[in-house]
């Protein structure tokens, strides 16, 4: 899936990714390829992304939003 991580400071990440794991307001979610369209509020915590070659990256977030659309594009807003 196409992943974009945006913050007020700029584009943090843009490219293909295998999965994204983050803490949401109602628990923890992992978004994989072709996830059902989703909008959710993210909670403070560690967000983990995994790219196509399986390399994991962790990003600390204060708060944010996540949107998965029907075109397999995941947009994450963090600040």
């Amino acid at each position: 899936m196409m992943l974009r991580i945006l913050s007020p400071k700029g584009v943090e990440f843009e490219g293909d990714a295998k999965s994204l794991n983050a803490k949401s307001a109602s628990g923890e979610i992992t978004v994989l390829d072709h996830h059902h369209p989703l909008m959710t509020v993210l909670a403070k915590g560690l967000m983990t992304t995994e790219d196509l070659s399986g390399i994991k990256k962790e990003i600390e977030i204060e708060s944010g939003f996540l949107e998965m659309d029907d075109q397999n594009t995941l947009t994450v807003f963090i600040n």
Binding site: L6, G10, S26, L38, M39, V41, D69, T75, F77, N79
Partner: protein
């Protein structure tokens, strides 16, 4: 004709002014680079955030944020600078504000939210009600700095102090081109958000495409909304509005520093031209005076020899 001494003083004065404008040019060049960088870096986020806001507005239907209500009072947010010497930057913003206030004051009561000391002075001059004033926004502000301003706008709207919010600010296109835009900030609706996205997005490049995509209808996409639509909207909308306000400040800053840099560059160039023209006429006059003195000396000498 001007005296030699007077010309000399004038030349020195012009040179001094030139030095000052040159220094200001260098300072604003640095600030310009910085503020442009911040404004442009934030654009992708602002555009995407607006896109999300638009989707949310579409899914939510009518909410307190989108409902049009009878307008008893309009808040006009005017963004200009704290200091002058910015060319026509402040004049342009205030001229636009003037025109809009004249139209709006016929329809409802008006309050202004002043960003920049120049706007405060303008409000005092026109005797307008001041809902709040902010200064010191000219230097790069972080998102947190813009929150108090955004919260006055948002809380006043929700609290019923005003029923409509307009913003007048400068949008940064290029160093040489900035345009004053008036936007309806609240109540927000899908068309207005789409229009704002179109204004922010550059004419060319990748984000130009995004602006075109905004026409898409998304009501048929079965979004799952967590934890619940109500909670999401209540968290998301104020946040995205704050973000929009923050972005307006950044664009205005980039415009201000660009306008100042260009104005100071022109002033320095003019000072240089003027100084060299003055140096030329000073030298000519000095030469003329010397020649005159030599003629007098030789004339006197001839007269003495002939006597």
């Amino acid at each position: 004709m001007e005296s030699l001494q007077g010309l000399k003083t004038r030349k020195a004065a012009v040179k001094n002014v030139g030095t000052i404008t040159k220094a200001m040019e260098v300072v604003s060049a640095t600030k310009m680079r910085k503020s442009q960088e911040v404004a442009l870096r934030t654009r992708p986020y602002a555009i995407e955030a607006l896109r999300l806001l638009r989707k949310v507005a579409q899914l939510a239907g009518e909410t307190q944020w989108t409902r049009e209500r009878p307008v008893k009072k309009t808040l006009i947010v005017v963004m200009a600078s704290d200091r002058g010497l910015t060319g026509s930057f402040n004049a342009q913003v205030l001229r636009a504000a003037d025109a809009i206030i004249n139209i709006e004051s016929a329809k409802s009561a008006i309050a202004i939210l002043a960003v920049g000391k120049k706007v405060v002075r303008y409000g005092d001059m026109r005797g307008l009600e001041l809902a709040g004033s902010f200064s010191g926004f000219g230097d790069v502000v972080s998102f947190e700095d813009a929150v108090p301003m955004a919260d006055i706008i948002i809380n006043g709207f929700i609290g019923g102090e005003w029923d409509r919010v307009l913003t007048i600010s400068t949008h940064f296109r290029t160093t040489l081109k900035q345009e004053v835009l008036a936007r309806e900030f609240l109540p927000t609706n899908i068309e207005r958000i789409a229009e704002t996205i179109r204004e922010i997005a550059p004419e060319h490049g990748r984000f130009a495409q995004i602006a075109k995509d905004t026409a898409r209808d998304i009501s048929d996409i079965p979004y799952i909304i967590e934890p619940s639509p109500q909670i999401l909207f209540d968290v998301l909308v104020p946040y995205l509005l704050r973000m929009q306000a923050y972005h307006l400040v950044l664009e205005a800053n980039a415009s201000e520093h660009s306008a100042r840099r260009v104005a100071m560059k022109t002033a320095s160039d003019n000072a240089d031209d003027l100084a060299s023209a003055l140096a030329l006429s000073y030298n000519k006059m000095r030469q003329a005076a010397i020649t005159k003195e030599i003629i007098e000396i030789t004339g006197t000498q001839n007269a003495l020899e002939n006597a």
